[in-house]
Symmetry: C2
Subunit: 468 residues, 2 copies
């Protein structure tokens, strides 16, 4: 369980520097975690607060899913093939409008894999920043741009605002938005109905049994991959292969990973996970993991309703670059984190220059990883190492599936519901309060008192909408 | 000290939600910190381990610098003007080869400000990743590309490898690298001598009294700004203005910021700084701050030599996007961080669409900031808010100078040397050990034993350089 390597998946894991003992490996809590995961895969209501099944493992193994879900998954793959065949060479750019689970996976995959020979360039509009929309649309030929709107409900306000801004840009260019638009949403959602009524190019399915942060092996990830001309079936295969390797009690790398996190966190949130891929292509992986891990584990209450304030902080960018930023603190500062090194074995397509006798730039890259790993070990700091043969769709599928499973197992170890996000709603509701305050201020029905009102008025004034 | 606003700089700071008391504001440690900062600016050896002066404040106020430094700074500005005038329209792209302090500032500024009307596109090679080099060079017309090599000593291996790879690419294209290359380095360094011998286009100065992580107001930041056709003098003016506002004991926003961090950290490293700019252009600010803050504060020993393991962790990306990622944990998880909200008042050039009655996408952006801020306050979590009129060179100069000063003052409060990085050397040395192990393995003089050797051999094999 401390070391794993699967040559078919092109992925290895080494937990030898996480300080685990034999007693750790025999902890009966691990048996419970595996049993709970097994029940989840069999269709239990693993998200009790929302009364939902948790089906992301089915997405790459529909044979294991309940019949209705299995049929829906297979139909979604067919719809993807149909859409791809329809598009032909009509578009050169895809504009993805989505946020959180509808953007982080596609952004990570697109940056890691790049655009294939017949693929579209991908731009992501993942916020409600007006200037950000302008930047994303700058230089895009909208006549050759396909817009993808990803939203389960259609009610996510950032996504709705982005869609409205993009639709207005098509109108200004004298183009029909509907002729360039694809919706990915739950059947019957507000977005689905709107897209049906306006006659969008296509409507594709999301399901309520797939959470946003574990949706990358649904069409949320597969559609962007297909448009990038990357092998989405290999991505699914990689995930399926890792799923198969992470079901049992013995030799399960995800169970080892969850255990290592748990001991590092001392059952609470004692240490953060610093993600250090030594590969430029993987720089967005930490952002992907921030959502997957922190939104799953960061919970006020455990499943029994007790206040526990659980969490597992994730940050990081890439090595060796980050060695010149904060490795100083990782080595000398508080012992409050563990490093997750990721090594990629293949340096590049083709041979490399020797930058010093017998050594390439890639040898230095690995040398810095090993050097930093040893420097941390000498300072008594924990680290683990993941090895990928190369950055391909199969390896990324396996990598993501490894972390999805580890997060689920870890949630069992600390006893929280990994599949809801009750704390997110509060901010959304409070935003509505702020917008109502703005309306009242504009109508002269509220005084400019308090830091919220002051900032609202400063913002209105800066945009020429407050003259008092 | 809890609230600051300077309309000339276009920057405000509000610490009202950091839980500071009157007793905090009267802490005599603040007087000491201001006095130490004053001595630093007057030229004391503020970096005792390395026996160096700390001169980054002089970079924007040479009148306050020792005569030799003042002359060197003014001469560097003249050299920048001369170089800019020389380049004419010869180039369309700048390739910046540098890492850490030589890359994070330029990357942040370039992403935040974009390319001005007559500016060059900027690509940064900030690692020793062979595939990363290939990606950075893809599609670049090297005949129209200017390469900038930033290294104080010329000995930073990542930068040296990048330079060698880029030079080889020019050679393969039948071009003279020297005719396209500018060195920014200390006079007499290995890089300086090499550039002089080969007749590079220009050699520009760095100085040992400016640390990498505080070098962005030297030519490290100014040269990229000039090439981007951004107003580097306004950037300096903004920093100078903030310096003037942060010298005193009263009403000093940097002192307030340092104090707020110190109370949040409870004198140790109790809470992390989560950086949440609600503006797409500022997404790289957290990466810039990671180096500035963590490399400065993350120290094993204090100035008296006692083991303290100080640190101040920084992470974050942008709002409201991150609300869909980890705000769940910030609100419900462990009380181990405080949020640094950044609001930008100007939404975009020109008016905005109403996405709902009376409200623009920018109103929602601010609404989400206010909503999340209130949700955190309700959960008893700390936050502070920085307001920028707009994202311009002056505002960014002021913003960076605010944090530079706050980091220096904070270091006084916790008693560490903010200007060295002893822990970074260990990783570099250990990398040399790894490269020597590789040479021994290749020569058959070492056994493949241990996790280092196994990974080295796997890497060599994946790149066709291990046949046993």
């Amino acid at each position: 369980m401390l070391r794993f390597h699967d040559p078919t998946l092109g992925l290895g894991l080494d937990l030898g520097r996480m300080g685990l003992t034999d007693a750790d490996l025999n902890d009966p809590a691990l048996d419970r975690a595996v049993a709970e995961m097994s029940a989840l895969e069999a269709g239990s209501i693993a998200n009790p607060d929302e009364g939902r099944q948790v089906g992301h493992y089915w997405l790459r193994a529909p044979a294991l899913a309940p019949q209705e879900a299995a049929e829906a998954i297979r139909a979604s793959w067919e719809a993807l093939d149909t859409l791809s065949a329809t598009l032909g060479g009509r578009f050169d750019t895809a504009l993805l409008v989505g946020i959180g689970g509808s953007a982080l996976g596609p952004m990570f995959l697109a940056d890691a894999l790049g655009v294939g020979p017949g693929g579209l360039a991908l731009r992501v509009l993942d916020n409600t920043d007006p200037d950000g929309f302008d930047r994303a649309l700058a230089g895009v030929d909208l006549g050759r741009a396909l817009t993808l709107v990803f939203s389960k409900s259609g009610g996510t306000q950032e996504t709705r605002n982005g869609m409205l801004e993009v639709a207005a840009a098509y109108r200004r260019a004298g183009l029909s938005f509907a002729d360039h638009a694809v919706a990915l949403t739950c059947a019957g959602s507000a977005l689905d109905r709107e897209a049906a009524a306006a006659g969008w190019l296509a409507r594709l399915p999301m399901w309520d049994w797939v959470g946003g942060r574990t949706s990358v092996t649904s069409l949320v990830g597969l559609l962007p991959l297909a448009l990038l001309d990357q092998d989405w079936r290999a991505f699914l295969d990689g995930a399926a292969g890792m799923d198969a390797a992470t079901r049992g009690r013995e030799g399960n790398p995800a169970l080892g990973l969850a255990l290592a996190w748990h001991r590092a966190a001392e059952g609470q949130a004692r240490r953060a996970m610093v993600v250090l891929p030594y590969k430029d292509r993987l720089v967005l992986f930490s952002r992907y993991l921030q959502q997957l891990v922190m939104e799953s584990i960061g919970k006020e209450r455990d499943l029994a309703g007790r206040v526990v304030h659980q969490g597992l902080t994730v940050y990081g960018n890439k090595g060796s670059t980050d060695q010149h930023a904060y490795i100083q603190q990782l080595r000398e500062g508080p012992d409050d984190c563990f490093a997750t090194f990721i090594a990629v074995l293949e340096d590049r397509q083709g041979p490399s220059l020797e930058v010093s006798p017998g050594a390439t730039a890639g040898d230095y890259l690995l040398g810095f990883l090993l050097g930093t790993r040893n420097a941390l070990t000498e300072a008594g700091r924990r680290s683990l190492t993941i090895t990928l043969d190369r950055v391909g769709p199969r390896q990324l599928g396996a990598l993501i599936a490894l972390f999805e499973r580890a997060v689920g197992l870890y949630a069992s170890l600390v006893g929280v519901n990994a599949y809801h996000q009750p704390g997110v709603e509060a901010g959304k509701k409070a935003a509505g309060v702020a917008l109502r305050l703005q309306a009242a201020l504009l109508a002269g029905e509220a005084e400019v008192v308090g830091d919220d009102a002051e900032l609202i008025v400063a913002h209105l004034r800066a945009n020429g909408r407050w003259s008092r």
